[in-house]
Symmetry: C2
C-alpha cells in the first residue's frame, strides 16, 4: 500500500449554482418521441397536443328517460290546452343514452307525460328544442384539442383519449439510464456469500436503478468495472455508443487518488460541476460527453441517494418534458438540537414521531456510509448553508420519505441512556415489528425538559434526591408542573467503580479514592452518576478536593471506561455494562432505580401498552438479569402517577 | 322498446358507513405471499420481518486514512514522551475502508502521525481501542431485524437488504383484479371507427385498469359482456374460479331495470352495500362471493373513478398489508359559490389557479357522464353531507389530481360571457397548448366583485354608464378602489332584438316594443344587457310599463332566444350569436364595447402576454369577424390603466 497524492476539487459550487448550471444546460433536451397504444400510456408524457378524432357524444342522445319529439310540434301545449301525441309517429319512448329517432330534437321527461292510450300520450307544456338531449359534441367536438403537449397521462386522460376515438398517442420515450458501478472492492450481490475482508457488496446500483424507475425511466445496471482509469474510460465510451439518455458512474466522483470520474469526463467531454457544497453528497461530478448528460455519484450510499435526488431526478423528468412531482413536506418541531456547518447545505436524516398532535423530528447522527440511516429515516431536514443549525423546539420543514401514517409507529424516548433500553427496543420490534423505540441520550434532566416541552413520549431517568435518597419524584415535582406523567420502574442497576483489570490499586469503596495513589476520572456536573458520587462522598464524609482527578470530566459511561483502559485514570464511576464492554473490572458501590417517565396521554397508546407488557414479562427480566449489574425484580412496577400538580400515587 | 319496472336501492349507506363496513369485512384479508429477488422488490410490501444475514461492515475497517495499530502499544505516548512505531510490524498504513491487519484495533489519523524514516513513524498521543475503526456490525449486526413486516420497500431499503446479505425477500403478491365491462351498447376501443348511434366506446375498463396499476396491483381487462343477467353471472363465476383477489363489474350497479350487479352478487354471495350517499358515485355495489371482494362500479366515468377511489383503492393497499399513500391536498379559496345537497357527500371537480399567491378553486359544473370534467379538473373538493356548499371566498381543502405546478398554466377569468371568449381560449391553447383560459359566467358586475376579492386574474365586462354612454370606467372607479387593473378592448359587439324567423311582427327599433301586439322577454335586473335596454328606452322616451312582458325575466342570452323560439315571446334583447344559434332573426339596435379587465400584477405574466399578442392579431380579428355581430377593429387596444386610485391612462 503506498501513499498517493491527493487532488482537490477545482471549484466547488453551491447547491443552487450547480442546479442552475445543470438544469440550464439540458433544459431543451428531450428523449425521442414514440407512438404507443393509449391503453399502455399511463404515466407517460404527451409529446404533442392531442386533438379529438370524433365527437363525444357522437350522436344526439336522450339525457333522460321519456319521449323524444320534434319540439316544434309541442309549442302550443299548456295546462289550459293539453296536447296529444301519437306514440311511434310523433313521440318515441327513449331511455337515457338512446339515440334520438330521426326527426326529433327534444326529450320530454317521463314524469311530465300523461299516458292516454297504448299509442297516445298527453303533454301540458311545450318542449323547447334540444331539451334533455345530449347533443353531438357536447362533451368533446371532433378536431378539438383535448390534451396539451407535455401532459402527464393519468387514468382519466386515457379514458378521454379512447372516447375521442384515439388509439395511439405520441409520447416522450422513457429515458434510458446506463448505471455503471466502479470499484475494485465491489462484489455483485449474487456473490454475497463469498466476501473477503475489504470486499463491499455492490448495492448502490440496485438502489440507483430503483430511483431511476421511480422517475418513470429505465435503468440498465451494468457489470462492475475495477478502479482502473482505462477500464472505466472504455465503459464510458461503450455507454455513449449505445442509445442511453443519461450515464451514471458510481463511484470515483471524489478528488482522491483513485477517483477517475472527473478526469475521464474532462478528457472525453466537459465537466460542468465537480464538488457541491452539500453534505452528504459533496463529491458529485456533473458533465456532458457528446451532448449527453453524465453524472458521477459518490460512493457512500447516503451521498449517492441525496446527489441523485438533487440532480438526476429533476433531469429525468426534464428529459420527458415535465417538472418532477412535488415532494411531500410536513412541519415538525426539532426534538434535539441540530448543529451544522456554515457554507454547506446539510441534509439531516430524521426520525419523526407524533407527540400530542405535533410532529417531532429527531436527528439521526450518523455518517454518509451508514446505509441504515436511510432505512431508519422517516424524513430529511435541510439545514441551508447560511444556517448553523436548528434549536430544539424550532419548527422545520421535513421532506417525508415514507407514508405519513408510518410515523405513528415511532415511540420517541429521550433522557439518560441505559443498556436495557436497547433490549426494550429489540423486544418491542419482536412483539410488533413496526414499533420503533427511538432513543436520544441527553441525560436524565435533559429528558425531563424534553418531556415538558412536548418533544418526546417518554423519558429515561435516574435522578437521586440527595436529601432523602429517593429517585425521580422530587425532580418530576420541580420540572413537570402541569405535565401529567406516570413513572414505571425499568430496573435497578448497580453503579460502581470501573477499574483496571485485576483491580491493581485494590479499590474497594469511596474512601479509597482519596488515598493519594489513585487517579480518578469524573462525570460532568448534572449527570445522574455525578449526583450519585457526590451523595456517596458526603455520606462517607470525604472532601472532593482530596480526590486526584475529581475535576477531570467525561460525558458518558463509555468515555469514563476508555479513560481507564487507556491508563489516564485508575478509576471512574459508571455502570457495569461499560466496564464489561472494555473488559475492565467493576467494584459495585450502590444500586439506583432507573425509571421510564411516560406522558399520561400515551398511557392507552398501543405502543406503550406493548411496552408495559414487555417490561413486566419474565422474558424481559431474564434478558436484563443476564446483562449483569441489573436487578429487574420490580421491572414494570408503577412507581408514581403524577397529575401535573400532585402525586395520585407514589411508591418509593 | 318497452318500459320496465324500476327498482330501488335497498338501504343507502353514508360514505363513512359504507367505508367502515367494507374496510372491516376485509381487514384481515391479504393476498398470498411470494418470495422474490430483492433487486425486483421496489414498491412491494414485506410479508414478514427481515433479519440481517451478515453484519455490516463484515470486517473491522479503517474509518480514516492513517495507520492501524494495537492501541495497547500506544498508551504511554505524549508530547513529553513521543513514541516511535515500526511500519510493517507495529503500524500499518491503511486507507478508509481497508480491513484492519490482524493484531490491530485502532487507526491513527494520518494528520497525527510524524514520519521519521521510511519504516518508522512517531506519535505524540495514545490511541484508544477501536478509535477510527468501523467495527464489525457497527451499521447492521447479523441476525438483527432490519425491516419490519408490512414495510413498503423503497430504493434505500433494497440497498440495505443487499448489504445485509439478503438476496430474496418475502412480499405480498400484487393483487390481481378482474375487470369485467358489461353493457350491450359497449364497443371495444379497437372498433372505435365503426360506431353506430347509441354505441359507446368501452373506455372505463382502460381507466380502471390504470387506476388498479396505480395501486401497485395488476388489472386484467376482460371482454365486454352484454346486459344479460345470465351472461354476466357466467362471467362472474368464471372470474371467481380464477386466482383473482378482487372482481370489478362495470357497470350495471344502479337500481335500473337492466342493472344486474346487485342481484347477481346477492344470488352468488352477499351484498354488503348497495347505494352510497355520495355524488357522483351513488350507484355502487360492494359485496363478497366465496370470501372474495366484488365491486360493482357505476357506468358514468366520473362516478366510476370516484367510487373506485373511495372503495377499491384503499382495499388494494389493504390486501398488500398497508394503508394507501396519502393524497396531496392544498388549501384554496372558492372562486365561485358551490351549492350542494344536504345528505350527500358531493365530489366537486375544480380547476385551480394561482391568483396573487393564493390558490383559487373554480368548480366545474358538469355531470357524471362528462369525461372531460375529469381531464380538465385539477382537483376535487368534497362537500360533506352535512354542508349545503361553500360560499365564494371560503377556504377549502382541494385534493390535487395533478402536479401542483400545472395549475400555474391556468388563467382564471370571470364575469360576463361572450362567444369571443371561446375563440380566445382556443387560440391560447393553439399558441401554447398548456395555457387554459377558464371562464366562469357571473355577469359583468359579478366579475368586478371577483377581481376585487382576488378570485380571478381577469374579468369580462360590458357595463354601460347611462350618464355618459361610456363603458366600464365608472364601474372600475366605484368597485376596484385599491385594485390596479388594465382595461383591454376585446371587441365591440352588436346588441339587438332576437325575433322570430322572418321577423313576422316587423320589429325595427325600441319603439315597436310598446306597440301592444308585441310580447317581450326581458333580462334580469343588473345584467349589462338590461342596463343597455333601459338606456335605449330612456333615450327614446318610452315607459317600461308600456311594454308587454317587460317584467318577464331570463338570465342568459340563450334563455331569451329559447323563449322566442318556443313562441313565449316575440322579441328579446341579446347578442347576434344567440339568435343565430337557434336560427332566429336579429335586429341590430346598438353597439357596445366588451373589455377584458386584467389585474396589474398579471401584466407581465407569460399567459397574459400570449393573450395580448392574440387579441391584437389579424388571425383573431378574422375569426371574430366571421362570427358575425362583432367589430374587432380595435381588439387589443388598451382602454385604461387604473392604479387603484385614478386613471393613469383612459381612452374612451
Amino acid at each position: 500500500m503506498e501513499r498517493k497524492a491527493r487532488k482537490v476539487y477545482l471549484r466547488m459550487k453551491t447547491l443552487k449554482e450547480a442546479q442552475d448550471i445543470w438544469t440550464d444546460r439540458f433544459k431543451a433536451t428531450r428523449t425521442g418521441i414514440e407512438e404507443i397504444e393509449v391503453t399502455e400510456a399511463l404515466n407517460r408524457v404527451t409529446a404533442s397536443p392531442v386533438f379529438a378524432r370524433r365527437s363525444v357524444p357522437h350522436y344526439h342522445g336522450a339525457a333522460m328517460d321519456g319521449y323524444a319529439v320534434d319540439a316544434a310540434l309541442t309549442f302550443g301545449a299548456s295546462d289550459v290546452k293539453p296536447l296529444r301525441l301519437k306514440v311511434g309517429s310523433e313521440a318515441f319512448p327513449v331511455d337515457t343514452g338512446d339515440p334520438l329517432p330521426d326527426g326529433t330534437n327534444a326529450v320530454i321527461m317521463i314524469e311530465h307525460v300523461f299516458p292516454i292510450k297504448e299509442d297516445e300520450i298527453e303533454i301540458r307544456s311545450p318542449a323547447y328544442p334540444w331539451q334533455h338531449v345530449r347533443k353531438v359534441g357536447e362533451d368533446i367536438v371532433a378536431g378539438e384539442l383535448i390534451l396539451p403537449e407535455r401532459h402527464l397521462l393519468k387514468p382519466a386522460d386515457l379514458a378521454c383519449l379512447l372516447a375521442a376515438g384515439i388509439k395511439t398517442v405520441k409520447v416522450y420515450r422513457k429515458p434510458l439510464v446506463w448505471i455503471q458501478p466502479t470499484g475494485s472492492e465491489l462484489v455483485p450481490p449474487s456473490k454475497a456469500d463469498l466476501l473477503k475482508p475489504g470486499d463491499i457488496i455492490e448495492f448502490n446500483g440496485t438502489m440507483i436503478k430503483a430511483m431511476v424507475e421511480e422517475c418513470n425511466a429505465l435503468g440498465i445496471l451494468q457489470e462492475i468495472v475495477p478502479d482502473e482509469k482505462d477500464a472505466i474510460s472504455e465503459a464510458v465510451k461503450k455507454a455513449l455508443k449505445s442509445e442511453v439518455d443519461l450515464l451514471i458512474i458510481n463511484a470515483g466522483s471524489s478528488a482522491g487518488s483513485e477517483d477517475y470520474t472527473a478526469q475521464i469526463v474532462d478528457e472525453l467531454g466537459r465537466v460542468l460541476v465537480h464538488g457541491v457544497t452539500m453534505m452528504p453528497g459533496k463529491p458529485v461530478v456533473l458533465g456532458e460527453i457528446d451532448g449527453k448528460p453524465v453524472v458521477g455519484l459518490p460512493g457512500y450510499p447516503v451521498s449517492a441517494l441525496l446527489a441523485f435526488d438533487q440532480f438526476v431526478r429533476p433531469l429525468l423528468w426534464q428529459l420527458q418534458g415535465i417538472w418532477p412531482p412535488a415532494k411531500k413536506y410536513v412541519d415538525a418541531v426539532v426534538g434535539r438540537k441540530i448543529a451544522s456547518k456554515l457554507g454547506l447545505d446539510e441534509f439531516v436524516r430524521v426520525i419523526v414521531g407524533r407527540v400530542a398532535d405535533r410532529l417531532v423530528a429527531m436527528p439521526i447522527q450518523r455518517g454518509a456510509g451508514v446505509i441504515t440511516s436511510l432505512t431508519r429515516a422517516d424524513g430529511i431536514v435541510v439545514v441551508s448553508q447560511e444556517k448553523e443549525g436548528f434549536r430544539d423546539g424550532e419548527t422545520v420543514k421535513v421532506e417525508l420519505l415514507r407514508p405519513e401514517y408510518s410515523v405513528d409507529w415511532n415511540l420517541l424516548m429521550i433522557g439518560s441512556h441505559d443498556n436495557t433500553i436497547d433490549v426494550l427496543a429489540s423486544e418491542l420490534k419482536r412483539a410488533d415489528s413496526r414499533i420503533r423505540l427511538v432513543s436520544s441520550n441527553v441525560g436524565s434532566l435533559g429528558g425531563l425538559m424534553a418531556l415538558r416541552r412536548g418533544l418526546a413520549h417518554l423519558a429515561g431517568s435516574h435522578l437521586l434526591n440527595t436529601a432523602d435518597g429517593s429517585y425521580n419524584f422530587s425532580y418530576v415535582e420541580q420540572y413537570l408542573k402541569g405535565i401529567p406523567v406516570r413513572l414505571i420502574e425499568l430496573a435497578k442497576r448497580q453503579q460502581g467503580f470501573i477499574v483496571q483489570k485485576g483491580n491493581p490499586k485494590n479499590i474497594r469503596d469511596v474512601k479509597d479514592l482519596a488515598r493519594g495513589d489513585v487517579t480518578f476520572i469524573n462525570r460532568q456536573g448534572g449527570a445522574g452518576t455525578r449526583i450519585l458520587l457526590d451523595y456517596e462522598l458526603e455520606k462517607a464524609g470525604i472532601q472532593p478536593e482530596s480526590i486526584k482527578g475529581y475535576d477531570q470530566e467525561e460525558y458518558t459511561h463509555m468515555a469514563v471506561a476508555v479513560a481507564v483502559v487507556s491508563g489516564r485514570a485508575d478509576a471512574g464511576m459508571g455502570i457495569f455494562a461499560a466496564a464489561r464492554a472494555l473488559e475492565l473490572d467493576f467494584v459495585p458501590v450502590t444500586e439506583e432505580r432507573y425509571d421510564l417517565i411516560i406522558r399520561e396521554d400515551m398511557w392507552e397508546d398501543r405502543k406503550i401498552r406493548t411496552l408495559l407488557d414487555i417490561v413486566s414479562s419474565d422474558r424481559f427480566r431474564g434478558i436484563v438479569r443476564d446483562l449483569g449489574g441489573y436487578d429487574p425484580s420490580n421491572s414494570g412496577t408503577v412507581r408514581g402517577i403524577w397529575n401535573g400538580t400532585e402525586w395520585v400515587e407514589r411508591r418509593d
